[in-house]
Symmetry: C3
Subunit: 155 residues, 3 copies
Amino acid sequence: MAKLTQLIDNEVFRAYATYMTIVLLKMMLMSFITAYFRIRRKAFANPEDVVSFGKGESAKKYLRTDVDVERVRRGHLNDLENIVPFLGIGLLYALSGPELSTALLHFRIFAGARILHTIAYLTPLPQPGRGLSWAVGCVVTFSMAYKVLKTGLYL
Amino acid sequence: MAKLTQLIDNEVFRAYATYMTIVLLKMMLMSFITAYFRIRRKAFANPEDVVSFGKGESAKKYLRTDVDVERVRRGHLNDLENIVPFLGIGLLYALSGPELSTALLHFRIFAGARILHTIAYLTPLPQPGRGLSWAVGCVVTFSMAYKVLKTGLYL
Amino acid sequence: MAKLTQLIDNEVFRAYATYMTIVLLKMMLMSFITAYFRIRRKAFANPEDVVSFGKGESAKKYLRTDVDVERVRRGHLNDLENIVPFLGIGLLYALSGPELSTALLHFRIFAGARILHTIAYLTPLPQPGRGLSWAVGCVVTFSMAYKVLKTGLYL
């Protein structure tokens, strides 16, 4: 840790960095799963993606939507909608001086909830599995937002 | 503020933290409004979300799009497209040493514009209400980007 | 640079600030390109956007999707999916004490790859142009994530 600037030479910030990176890598995984299903199901969105399947009508039939591709894409968008708030509010929370154990609890539950959300979405697990994992992530983010506003509110 | 690390123990950063948190919470609200309309209009995207409505065809009819659900989702996506640049550029701007009054002006106008954008989208208000509120948010972000590049450009 | 707080008074952080701002501005450009195609192709998503074209059925025909509008929107969403991880992981990477030359290499390649991705998507260029530019951006982000986790892992 010698090279880290002073700011992040503290354990709460390192924990934030670790879990934020894990969650963002998990989100990037969705792109690869989308690509996998697009290729396996031969369901593409752009004409230039299907030229290798032949010319004209024979290739055009692969320009279509597929239920599993769309499912992965919805999971990816839900990640964006929930991980962006965590990225911003989590950073401010990490800088607001929380107890290390409290911060770890927040980060771990959030990361776990988002990983469960993806599993629940892609399996798919019966509801309320996906709904609950989404809600838990929201509650963690709200709790961090409360701490940020309580510590540093400046309107 | 005693527990804040030195970095953010300054008023500009606290203002950024406050308005960023408000804007991100507003964005998260869109998920709840989407869920509200999905349940009220019985318009869902996933088969596992409609099993409680019965089996087979009787439940399948609720797998559909609804104009109001799609409207909220477009508003949510527009939030993502505009709040992500504010998250990144705003953070760098807050660290670039602006005057407190100038920074507050930027943050307040941006937050107000995004809240108006949501109201204009969901009511819906006649154009150019929504278009103008979107454009004002862009102008604020461009102004902050100019300050960041002027202060710290390093290509 | 006199007014910059100590934290970002270093060249790696200034490089991050510069390239992050450039990439976010490029992403915002997608909104303007979408608006341009919506107006030029008369393809809108909201009833309130088409009232200036007349009342009733004569305006309703402009509530439609257009292949080029959808293409720009897919490019915009792909930007979000890839620039959000760069925003978060890049910030942590910049704070993890990399060599300036290594950091510049990462930031420049990422920014170049995303600009090429947009050109490849909008032209459109034949594959694998778009696929490769997307993959290069991913590899850069993975490399930065590896450095962040190696330097500051705290589970």
